[in-house]
């Protein structure tokens, strides 16, 4: 049996070319997918992480945690706000995983829409998800799938995709509720302005150790939030 060196060399060259092409294609696919453009209703990301984070924590409306928890932490946020999204990813998880999960703190989200008009329907959609016990799933997933502010990504299609990923079961009711609750978004936004807030996220804490609601501003770390919680106990 005789080998044919030329044919062999040509085949191996073609194979090397194919391997190079495949490597390039995989890298391009990974880079394109890691760019995290967000706002894509076809690819709502982070569902598994959000499900893990919020597993077995009770939710009522926009309140996460045991309703009888002695300390209440209130977040005024805007779903289009990238700083709020950063908070959701980096700073709040340890609070949710410890004092909230242990029933020591309850976390309440209130809309404070400062980014743009699209923040109002986005916030109302979260409230509507809250009526089905999925408000915090909605918030967390929205934050994890944000696109650039005011880029027009907050469409009905995107909000519905987030609702589905959040586990909202009755989409018909959710659609009715979200249209009905835009007034409430405007009311909490007005309340935040009355309190003198100017940015998001802004936090308030209330507990046995505080004299009513105490503003915290925008704590820069999980540790700062933990200290405020400890003082409020």
């Amino acid at each position: 049996m005789s080998a044919e060196p030329e044919r062999r060399q040509r085949l191996l060259q073609m194979a090397a070319g194919a391997a190079f092409l495949a490597l390039a294609m995989v890298l391009v696919l990974i880079i394109v997918n890691s760019s995290g453009s967000g706002g894509d209703p076809e690819h709502i990301e982070g569902k598994a992480g959000v499900d893990r984070l919020l597993a077995a924590i009770p939710q009522q409306g926009m309140v996460l945690g045991d309703p009888k928890a002695p300390v209440t932490l209130i977040e005024f946020g805007d779903l289009q706000c990238p700083v709020c999204a950063g908070y959701a990813r980096e700073i709040l998880p340890p609070i949710i995983e410890n004092p909230v999960k242990k029933g020591e703190v309850k976390l309440e989200f209130r809309n404070f829409t400062i980014i743009g008009e699209e923040s109002v329907p986005a916030g109302a959609a979260a409230l509507a998800a809250g009526e089905q016990g999925r408000g915090w799933h909605y918030i967390e997933l929205f934050y994890r799938n944000q696109a650039a502010e005011r880029s027009g990504y907050v469409t009905d299609e995107f909000m519905e995709a987030v609702a589905i990923a959040a586990g909202v079961e009755n989409l018909g009711k959710w659609n009715q509720d979200r249209r009905r609750r835009t007034d409430e978004v405007e009311k909490t936004t007005e309340a935040a302005k009355q309190l003198g807030f100017s940015g998001t996220p802004t936090f308030l804490v209330n507990g046995p150790g505080t004299k009513g609601l105490e503003p915290l501003g925008t704590p820069e770390s999980t540790g700062a939030l933990e200290e405020a919680i400890e003082a409020a106990r």
Binding site: M1, L11, L12, A15, A19, N33, E42
Partner: protein, 155 residues
């Protein structure tokens, strides 16, 4: 012919056929589980398979990617039945594509879907083995003449 230090092409063909058949089984299970509106069952009560199956990445143009997997494994199986350059090069290119796509899917599972489906991992491992086998076959036997009918046991 047996190249020094390498298994015979006949051995490689048999190994490719065996692993590709396993791959067809894995991909078929995933596709059947999805077609019934469900998802593959992960062992030890993990929810990773359901999470991955329900993610938007599990379908391409409305077709479950496991179906493409079945086609890919079937074509790889077919290449194992021929001992010529077309089969060697075709098998290499198919396995390379499958391996590359498996790397991408594993990336998606870890960093985007944030869940691991054991069946998908099994398929990725099988595709990696097939890539290694087909690369070995091509490097070891490219350019050699067709001399035996497929999977024909030689004396």
């Amino acid at each position: 012919m047996k190249t020094k230090g390498l298994p015979s092409e006949w051995t490689l063909q048999r190994a490719i056929a065996f692993v590709a058949a396993l791959g067809i089984g894995v991909a078929t299970y995933i596709a059947i589980a999805d077609s019934g509106g469900g998802s593959p069952v992960c062992i030890a009560g993990s929810h990773g398979c359901a999470t991955v199956a329900k993610s938007s990445y599990s379908h391409l143009a409305g077709v479950n990617i496991a179906v493409f997997g079945i086609v890919g494994y079937a074509l790889l199986l077919a290449t194992a039945f021929f001992a010529n350059d077309a089969a060697r090069f075709g098998g290499f290119v198919l396995a390379l594509g499958g391996f590359g796509y498996s790397v991408f899917l594993t990336y998606l599972e870890i960093f985007k879907i944030e869940a691991i489906c054991q069946w998908c991992v099994a398929s990725a491992v099988l595709m990696t083995i097939l890539f290694a086998l087909n690369a070995t076959r091509l490097i070891g036997y490219a350019g050699t003449e067709e001399r035996a009918r497929p999977l024909e046991r030689r004396a």
